[in-house]
């Protein structure tokens, strides 16, 4: 009813100029596939499905993996900008589900974790979409391990991206010295905020509705 009356009052509120981009959002979900984290892929799949159910026509979604070298298009599992027509939209979502199922069923554990590379790839994708609201969801323990020769120690340019770390599990050494866990999170927060983004952590996956909140 509220929507109906809002629509009814529209001519009073607006001059009537179309604005197709101002309300869309883009989300990139980075899934850590290193080490034992492959066991957590079911959770990542659930998050991706939640995003598929939540995002609206015009929004963009990309799911990419974090492995030894993540700054690559090959690591993108699937990406889509949702169509405005409901029939096409539903078909796109079905295709996305299939791609996710295939990824979860066939992924092998990677020896290294290139989180920065994944983030760079995500920022590149988000910039291309042109959406005003950009979110990077990192499903990882945030422990970066780079292979020899990979250079990632430079400032990030996140360009107003919101970064949400999901399911940041505690490692064995974190249990021994919890300060390491805290320092790890603080280091990422500092790096992201210096790059112009915002950072927060959501470990309770039962409250996924908070994922895309401002």
């Amino acid at each position: 009813m509220r929507r109906f009356f809002l629509t009814l009052l529209l001519p009073l509120v607006l001059g009537g100029c179309a604005d197709s981009q101002s309300h869309t959002q883009s989300v990139v979900l980075l899934i850590d596939t290193s080490g034992t984290y492959t066991a957590e892929l079911q959770k990542a799949q659930a998050i991706a499905k939640f995003l598929l159910g939540t995002l609206q026509p015009g929004d963009s979604l990309c799911v990419a993996s974090i492995d030894t070298g993540s700054f690559s298009e090959k690591d993108i599992i699937h990406k889509v900008t949702f169509d405005g027509r409901p029939s096409v939209l539903n078909q796109q979502k079905r295709t996305f589900i299939e791609a996710l199922d295939h990824f979860v069923g066939n992924t092998k554990s990677s020896p290294y974790t290139d989180i920065t590379g994944g983030m760079l790839q995500a920022v590149e994708y988000l910039t291309e979409t042109g959406s005003p609201r950009r979110t990077i969801l990192i499903f990882s323990d945030l422990e970066e391990e780079l292979a020899k020769g990979y250079v990632r120690d430079f400032p990030l340019d996140l360009n107003n991206c919101r970064v949400v770390a999901l399911n940041v599990t505690k490692l064995r050494q974190d249990n021994i010295d919890p300060r390491k866990y805290k320092h790890r999170l603080e280091a990422w927060q500092s790096r992201i905020e210096k790059g112009g983004g915002s950072f927060r952590v959501i470990n309770d996956l039962d409250r996924l509705e908070r994922l895309l909140e401002n």
């Binding site: 109906f4 529209l10 009537g16 598929l52 015009g58 027509r85």
Partner: protein, 498 residues
């Protein structure tokens, strides 16, 4: 401020207070005058404003009454016009054809008369052979065979004649019955024609009575405007309440209609684009509904059920009918589109439901029973609602007409309230001025007390009190100067002085 006084010596503070009090005492007359004048100016301004608002309210009330009476008269005129149109239609349809009707009835009566004449039974011929038999029996018959033979011949002839005459009689009777039977439809037709004529005459009498009532109302409006205004006002209130209720129901219908077509519209215009905070598909759905309502308005207008647009009412009849058909065609097309959209909505909703189940990992539940019923229901609703919304034009017309009266009455009430409020605030400002003067005096009451005591002492000792230069008698109005007095009073004053 507290900080200023905090570090101050009490004696200094006391001295300052005393100094301040003296200053206030010295400026007492001027301050009193200023306060009094300010409060009077403010009160006068408010009183003037109140008067202006009251006048505006009166003017508006008069205007409202004029509009109400004009609308009432116009309404009665329209009803009279409609009654006359109906009478004209009856006269044109039935009474204009009265000569033909008369001829038809005369013809029917003539035919009935002829048939009646022909159906009359012919009396049987008297038995002539009886006298002949009597005469034959008196004949002399010595042999006794002649009479018997003659009688036998007569009998045979009589029997033959009887048989043939009976046959003829039966044939005639049959024909008479047939004629009588043929008369039945004529009788019925005649009876029906007479009934129709009677009904038309009765209808005309009723219309004439209705016209009498309307004429009486019209005369009341002209002769007793007060009573008519009261009656029309209460009628407008009732109309406003009823039309508002129906409009609310219509808005509910429009809301259901909107929900039926909003989702499938996204399939046509896309669900991603937005106009401001709203999806374009929602705006498109609303536009469709508004176009339907507009077409409904035009249809009602062209059918002369409502009279919101004088231009349409003034159109040529042929053009008006064409416009009515055009509006109806668009409405029908819209209804068809809505029905199709409702069908599409059902499909999209089912698909989205299946996808949601796939996303949540729930097992798809098989729908048992007739799942086509909601779909058909939606399609029928989609087809009917545009036509149902057409009838919004009738309460809308009532709402607009009665709303004018309601708005006028409400504005009058508001203006009256404003006038009263302004008068109250004006009085309050006068009282506030007096209160301020009293408070001012309260601040310097020691000096005033001293002044009073000195005055009393002077009175008791017989010393005349000079008029203070700075403070004339504050409560008495100052005497007007010569320049301000009118000429006649100045002359009288001069004579008195001499």
């Amino acid at each position: 401020m507290n900080r200023i006084f905090e570090g101050m010596n009490p004696m200094t503070l006391l001295t300052l207070c005393a100094l301040g009090m003296v200053l206030l005492y010295l400026g007492r007359a001027q301050v009193h005058r200023a306060i009094r004048q300010a409060s009077r100016i403010f009160a006068s301004a408010l009183r003037l404003a109140s008067r202006a608002v009251a006048l505006a309210e009166q003017r508006l009330q008069t205007r409202n009454r004029e509009v109400l009476l004009a609308e009432g008269a116009s309404h009665v005129e329209k009803e009279l016009e409609r009654e006359f149109q109906r009478i004209e239609a009856v006269v044109q349809r039935d009474l204009q054809n009265y000569p033909a009707l008369h001829r038809q009835m005369s013809g029917l009566l003539t035919r009935l008369d002829e048939d009646y004449q022909q159906s009359a039974s012919s009396p049987p011929s008297p038995p002539g052979w009886v006298a002949a038999v009597t005469a034959v029996t008196k004949l002399p018959d010595p042999e006794g065979n002649l009479v018997g033979t003659i009688l036998g011949e007569i009998k045979q002839e009589a029997d033959r004649q009887h048989t043939s005459s009976m046959a003829a009689y039966r044939t005639q009777s049959q024909q008479r019955h047939k004629r009588l039977e043929r008369m039945m439809p004529f009788w019925r037709r005649l009876q029906k024609t007479l009934s129709n004529a009677e009904r038309n005459i009765t209808g005309l009498q009723q219309r004439a009575q209705a016209i009498d009532v309307r004429m009486e109302q019209y005369e009341t409006i002209r002769s007793d405007p007060e009573r008519a205004a009261r009656y029309l006002s209460s009628s407008a209130f009732a109309q406003f309440a009823i039309s508002s209720l129906v409009m609310v129901i219509a808005v509910g219908g429009a809301f259901i209609n909107f929900n039926l077509i909003a989702l499938p519209m996204s399939e046509m215009v896309g669900g991603g684009s937005r106009i401001g905070p709203l999806q374009t598909s929602h705006v498109a759905a609303l536009v469709i509904i508004l176009v339907e309502v507009t077409m409904g308005l035009f249809l009602m207008e062209t059918l002369r059920i409502t009279r919101l647009f004088p231009v349409i009412n003034q159109l040529d009849d042929k053009l008006r009918v064409r416009l009515a058909w055009f509006s109806f065609s668009i409405l029908l097309t819209m209804a068809g589109i809505e029905s199709a959209l409702a069908f599409m909505r059902d499909q999209i909703a089912a698909d989205s439901h299946a996808l949601r189940q796939a996303l949540t990992g729930a097992q798809a539940t098989a729908i048992t029973g007739a799942n086509w019923i909601p779909m058909v229901g939606q399609m029928v609703l989609g087809f009917i609602l545009p036509f149902a919304l057409t009838f919004v034009a009738i309460p809308l017309e009532s709402f607009i007409h009665s709303g004018r009266t309601m708005l006028g009455t409400a504005t009058c009430g508001f203006l009256r309230f404003c006038a009263t409020l302004l008068r109250i605030v004006g009085s309050f400002s006068l009282t506030s001025g007096k209160l301020l003067i009293s408070l001012y005096d309260l601040l310097i009451f020691p000096l005033l007390w001293v002044e009073t005591r000195v005055g009393q002492i002077r009175q008791t000792t017989g010393i005349s009190t000079p008029v203070p230069a700075a403070g004339p008698d504050l409560e008495k109005p100052a005497l007007p100067s010569k320049a301000l007095l009118p000429t006649s009073r100045r002359r009288k004053k001069a004579e008195g002085d001499q």
